[in-house]
């Protein structure tokens, strides 16, 4: 397939050579990853007693990370899927990144569940003895479906690019990479029939990905929502988690846009306009997220139900700073930065995104842990780690390892496929032709 020479020149160098900086960064992440694995081995050997989880707070960092990473996968569903269906022009440089975020976070997320499971050797029981009445089974089915769906969707978007790379004679890459492009492009040559097949498949999968993503995250929310615990037994948990996930996905997209723009010198393709557009999306989602959060806590605080009041008291005493950060700063600051044109700069928007992501992680933390620390029957114990959850270094190490794996996978993929979709960039959308 022919492609715009300029596009090729700008977007392929990364596939051809790797800088020392890349290797060093990769090595750094790899070291962090190994530290996490060491912690994991210790945990498998000695049992979960090495974590901070105890009989009351049975779900700690691992579940928080699980929800967080699964939430990040929303960027693919929303940005890529929705914008694709609406033929939005400015989406083109960013959709590849969004789809990659989806797949990679979908792969990492379930691993955190594995860390939380007491008997890893019996994990396959989830598949041979499933009970479909259990929300965890729904989650297993949904995540598997989502993984396959997102993978298909990602691959569909790669086919054209692989065809371009296969035909780009001046491409200076290793022969195995060339062979890879040839196989994966499925002989795509851009004929009308092929184009139609591809675009139809992409349209259908875009719709599916959105639907599946909503289902997956709602199911995850219902793992908490269907229990009787105060703080979890909330009717809006499904939509609330979905909104929060879109929020985190969008934030991560901005961060990655900034990173790759910087590293791969893509200033021409990812412009301020893109930052502002995705930033405005972030702001709108932040507003919705703030609305849901406010609604949830207002209802709990206003009513006099004892267990709700005890939980609110705990949030405003032990978890006060975290609560303020997650639910006030995390919402208001991004909104302010993006709402006023004066503050809108690429750097500021990225900072807003970073705050948003951190705030969302903390929000998951204060959803999961304070509820477990205030059960219906009071915790009457003398052991401090049974009363209050304190994560140990292993849990921190594995969290950092998760982030490292995310970075490493992203770096690896960027060496095999262009981080901006070449085929998308040069394709003129119907809306642009009509202009």
């Amino acid at each position: 397939m022919e492609a715009d020479k300029k596009l090729l020149k700008d977007l392929t160098p990364e596939l051809e050579k790797t800088s020392i900086k890349w290797y060093l960064t990769f090595f750094l992440f790899f070291v962090l990853f190994v530290a996490g694995i060491y912690g994991l081995i210790l945990q498998i050997e000695k049992g979960h007693i090495v974590t901070g989880m105890r009989d009351n707070v049975v779900w700690g960092f691992y579940i928080v990370n699980f929800i967080f990473f699964m939430g990040l996968s929303y960027s693919g569903a929303l940005i890529s899927g929705v914008l694709h269906l609406f033929h939005t022009g400015w989406r083109k440089p960013v959709i590849r990144m969004a789809e990659l975020i989806t797949i990679i976070s979908l792969i990492i997320g379930p691993f955190f569940i594995f860390f939380c499971i007491g008997r890893l050797d019996r994990l396959y029981f989830l598949f041979i003895h499933p009970r479909i009445q259990s929300p965890i089974t729904w989650d297993v089915i949904a995540i598997c479906t989502d993984l396959v769906g997102c993978f298909i969707y990602l691959y569909l978007s790669f086919v054209e690019d692989f065809a371009i790379l296969r035909d780009y004679a001046d491409l200076n890459v290793a022969p195995w990479k060339k062979k890879l492009y040839r196989i994966l492009s499925l002989g795509y040559t851009g004929t009308d029939i092929q184009k139609k097949l591809l675009s139809r498949a992409r349209m259908i999968m875009a719709a599916m990905v959105i639907a599946i993503a909503i289902i997956v995250y709602s199911v995850l929310a219902w793992i908490f929502g269907v229990t009787l615990q105060p703080g979890w037994h909330s009717t809006i948990f499904g939509p609330y988690f979905v909104i929060a996930a879109v929020f985190s996905g969008t934030g991560l997209l901005i961060i990655l846009m900034w990173i790759f723009r910087k590293i791969y010198h893509l200033e021409e393709y990812i412009t301020k306009r893109h930052f502002v557009n995705v930033g405005v999306l972030l702001m709108i989602i932040a507003a919705f997220y703030g609305y849901f959060t406010f609604s949830d806590y207002l209802t709990k605080w206003y009513g006099s139900i004892k267990m709700d009041s005890i939980l609110i008291d705990k949030l405003f005493s032990d978890y006060y700073s975290l609560f303020i950060f997650a639910n006030y700063i995390g919402i208001l600051l991004p909104c302010i930065i993006i709402a006023f044109p004066r503050f809108r700069s690429i750097r500021n928007i990225t900072i807003a995104a970073i705050i948003a992501i951190l705030a969302l992680w903390v929000n998951r933390y204060i959803i999961v842990i304070p509820t477990l620390e205030t059960p219906f029957l009071p915790i009457q114990d003398t052991r401090p780690d049974w009363i209050k959850y304190t994560p140990t270094w292993i849990e921190w190490a594995l969290t950092v390892a998760g982030v490292s794996v995310f970075a490493m996978l992203f770096m690896l993929v960027s060496k095999i496929a262009p981080i901006i979709s070449i085929s998308e960039m040069q394709e003129k959308d119907k809306s642009e032709i009509l202009k």
Binding site: I132, I141, T145, Q194, L197, A201, I204, M208, I215
Partner: protein, 302 residues
């Protein structure tokens, strides 16, 4: 001379003091080696088939808890001077020794008509000996069940046999029980009148087994004169029990999930994976189309 007496006096004093010290320490030694005081209880019972049983329990008390003494030999005899030796049995791990008296064994009665049982444990190096007596009069209890005016009634008659004559037992309480899984449930009691009879209205709301059968026991319960004497029978006077199987229906907590869950899940999965299937078919068709295109191009060259 005086000095000698003086010295002797002091030596004697010292010796007395020494003896006193030694003797008190000795007695404290012997206090440590003092034997345990056991407790021996005896119970007499006669069941519905007139099987008589003597049950002895040998325990001792420590920290306000009763601790059984297993493997100890308890001897049982009867008679005012314990002249008839009946048995010597070992206590089991709960400290209980049960002796079944033979049906045709006639026991000597004293002048009031009582059997004088005496039981004893001879003791050993660490446990003291102990004996216990129990005087029991033989009584016969008869139970007749009938339904009068649709009221379930139990008619009880109790009498003792003295010199071959039946003498009614009056002014005694008989308790009615129904055995349950772990214990027996007292249902009510009656007071025997001067004729030695009583009527008891049996409640009609006691659950029985699946068909409504109940075992009904009438008993002199721990009676100071008669011991434990009971008569039992099986009657269909209970409420029939339904077969309780909570796990057989469809629910969240049973083996079979609710139907709507299965249907919803199937529809969702089929819908989504159907679309995936379609996308994969498209990809395969792209590949086929590419091959066809290549052939077309090759043919075009020829």
């Amino acid at each position: 001379m005086v000095i000698m007496i003086f010295i002797k006096h002091h030596i004697l004093k010292a010796l007395t003091l020494l003896t006193l010290i030694i003797s008190t320490s000795f007695s404290s030694f012997s206090q440590e080696a003092k034997k345990i005081t056991p407790y021996l209880t005896v119970q007499y019972s006669k069941d519905t088939d007139n099987q008589r049983v003597l049950q002895t329990t040998l325990t001792y008390s420590m920290n306000r808890m009763e601790i059984p003494l297993p493997g100890m030999e308890v001897s049982i005899s009867v008679g005012s001077q314990s002249e008839k030796h009946l048995a010597a049995i070992l206590t089991d791990e709960k400290g209980i020794a049960r002796y079944k008296l033979d049906d045709n064994l006639t026991l000597p009665v004293n002048k009031e008509g009582f059997w004088d049982f005496s039981t004893g444990y001879s003791g050993n190096d660490s446990i003291e000996s102990i004996s216990s007596e129990l005087s029991v009069k033989d009584v016969d209890l008869e139970m007749v069940l009938s339904e009068i005016d649709s009221l379930k009634t139990i008619n009880l008659t109790a009498f003792t046999s003295e010199n071959g004559k039946k003498k009614p037992v009056s002014d005694e309480t008989v308790t009615i029980f129904v055995p349950r899984m772990f214990s027996i449930l007292p249902v009510g009691d009656v007071y025997l009148d001067k004729n030695g009879t009583a009527n008891f209205e049996f409640p009609s709301d006691i659950p029985g087994d699946n068909e409504g059968n109940l075992t009904i026991i009438a008993r002199f319960d721990d009676n100071p004169t008669f011991g434990n004497v009971e008569k039992s029978t099986v009657q269909k006077w209970g409420l029939p029990r339904d077969n309780y199987t909570p796990g057989s229906h469809r629910a969240l907590w049973t083996k079979s999930p609710p139907m709507w869950m299965i249907i919803t899940l199937s529809i969702l999965l089929m819908g989504v994976w159907g679309h995936y299937f379609f996308a994969i078919i498209s990809l395969i068709r792209i590949k086929i189309e590419a091959k066809r295109e290549k052939q077309r191009m090759n043919i075009g060259y020829e």
